[in-house]
Amino acid sequence: MTVTQTQTQTQTRNRTRIRTENPAQDRPERQAKIVIRDVGKVFRIRGTDRPFIAVDGIDLDVRDGEFLTLVGPSGCGKSTLLDLIAGLTAPTTGEILIDGEAVTGPGLDRGIVFQQYALFPWRTALANIEFGLEAKAVPRKERRERARHYLDLVGLTGFEHRYPHELSGGMRQRVAIARSLAFDPDVLLMDEPFAALDAQTRESLQEELLRIWEKTNKTIVFITHGIDEAVYLGQRVAVMTSRPGRIKRVIDIAFESREGDLRADPRFGAYRHEIWTLLRDEVAAAQEQERTIG
């Protein structure tokens, strides 16, 4: 166990060093879709002058077409990091590059999927999927066609004219995923999208997400609480520290394919334990923090 751990650790370190020392001829650097450099975000606590450091000194590269999962104790700033990549808030320090260009605001090159679906309740499933296409000024007819295509992709054919309240949680999340895919972003940012679903629905959606990812070659950053989910979905798992959130370690999940019962693979258990060990101390630290603040 310790052997694997140190190996991964050194591997990661090596890669980072090479990249920073020799950026010009470094292949991974060119391939990086998202580059997060020394990013920090400080909020001011309402009604006081006290600063609240949400994330600090985050360095992370996400390769083009990669599926990266992000785990960390609650309140460690995972969602803040996602908001920063989405361009919904600006970093206090550092910068975020997408395809080498600094993020200055939200855009249709990135799509977000939220835990609470965030579907527009007055729009049908189809009209919800069309929303981003309207923002992109796609003609009406093409909008319809594309929306139908993505509704098919998430397996909801026949539910075009249902309103969100007429759909189950799993179906709503499928619509939300279809909505984010429909305007064809390069990057999909997912904030604990399956956390509110029951175990069975979650597993089937995880499989489906992998299928969609393989089919569409999107770069996916996926936040989760579940270690199993992180190992199952991610090609790499980034583990964050407790607040202020930093990247503690990035672990390569070296499965050749995700066919079959991956969870029964002994390596799955090993990865799982490794991440669990990394998280245990951070969770304890986070709880300690909450106690002192509360």
């Binding site: 989405a86 361009g87 919904l88 605001g105 939200p106 855009g107 249709l108 990135r110 799509g111 977000i112 939220f114 609470q116 965030a118 527009f120 309740p121 007055w122 729009r123 929303f131 981003g132 309207e134 923002a135 026949g158 539910f159 309103y163 969100p164 309240h165 007429e166 759909l167 189950s168 799993g170 179906m171 305007f183 629905t201």
Partner: protein, 315 residues
């Protein structure tokens, strides 16, 4: 459906011995009862979903419970009508001041045939609707602006707060001074009274839009204007409509008062005039008319509201 029919006799839930049930009655069983899917296997998510919709659509309804509901709903009304009819006749109440319902209805019919009722009704309706329509046209945009733009809210709030606590009734003499005794003062009066529920609901409708929806729309790069048009406005519609419905009721209630203070036509005038000239049954006829008008108006608005917000969870 064939599976459904076959499944029915196997379940003797109806109390009739299985087999004696004719095939015809089996078709009458409410849909959505069997949990087995048409393929006979474990229901899939989609099967469960369609089943759920079928039940949610309220397919199961029978005539008998409906009748009992109708009885329960009308019992109190019937009792009231009965008391109104009998108490004056028995001498429990003075029939000069409270004539039996039948006499009031006769008076109402005479007013209708004589044409006075239509004339007063029309005068009232025009005033109410004008004030009400004016309130909708002017106040909704104002409320949207206040709810959406902080500076507008900061600028107007103190004035609005002051006026909100000034009763329309207190301002009626002012309206009459400025606009005279004719139609304008009454319409302005109704407008003023109707504006508040619409304004306050519009503001709160805009301000209480689910932040996650705004965030989601912003993440898709919507401009502030598009965000307002495509998210804030549709999300606020149900709340705005609550205000419109309240205003509908106010428009009739307040108009009546204005017509009693100074008018030569209208239902308020009819009621007041009938009382002054001691035509008591006419007075009650006017009151009944105004109640029914209010009821119908509200019913109309509820129907429109339903059309506008089919997407809302109705459980």
């Amino acid at each position: 459906m064939a599976d459904t029919l076959a499944a029915v006799p196997a379940v003797p839930a109806t109390g009739t011995p299985a087999g004696t049930v004719p095939a015809g009655t089996a078709t009458g069983t409410p849909a959505g009862t069997p949990a087995v899917s048409p393929r006979g296997d474990v229901p899939t998510a989609d099967d469960r979903a369609t089943n759920f919709f079928r039940v949610a659509a309220g397919v199961r309804s029978s005539a008998l419970p409906r009748l009992s509901l109708l009885l329960r709903r009308t019992a109190a009304l019937a009792l009231l009508a009965g008391l109104w009819e009998t108490l004056p006749r028995l001498g429990v109440v003075d029939r000069v001041f409270a004539p039996p319902l039948s006499e009031v209805l006769v008076a109402w019919y005479d007013l209708l045939v004589g044409g006075q009722l239509v004339e007063h009704f029309q005068a009232s309706l025009i005033r109410s609707l004008s004030g009400f329509a004016l309130a909708i046209a002017l106040t909704i945009p104002l409320g949207l602006a206040i709810g959406w733009y902080r500076p507008v809210a900061d600028f107007l709030s103190p004035v609005l707060e002051l006026f909100r606590n000034t009763s329309a009734v207190a301002l009626l003499p002012v309206f009459i001074l400025i606009f005279g005794l004719g139609e304008p003062s009454k319409i302005i009066f109704v407008f003023y009274a109707c504006s508040w529920p619409i304004l306050l609901n519009t503001i709160s409708g805009v301000r209480t839009v689910e932040p996650l929806l705004v965030k989601s729309a912003r993440s898709m790069g919507l401009s502030p204007f598009r965000l307002f048009q495509k998210v804030i406005l549709p999300a606020a519609v149900p709340t705005i409509f609550t205000g419109v419905r309240l205003a509908g009721a106010y428009s009739i209630l307040t108009l009546l008062f204005a017509e009693m203070v100074g008018a030569k036509a209208g239902l308020g005038y009819l009621i007041q005039d009938a009382q002054f000239s001691f035509r008591i049954p006419d007075m009650y006829a006017g009151i009944i008319t105004i109640s029914v008008l209010g009821l119908l108006f509200n019913l109309l608005l509820v129907t429109v509201e339903r059309r506008f917000s089919t997407w809302r969870t109705t459980s």
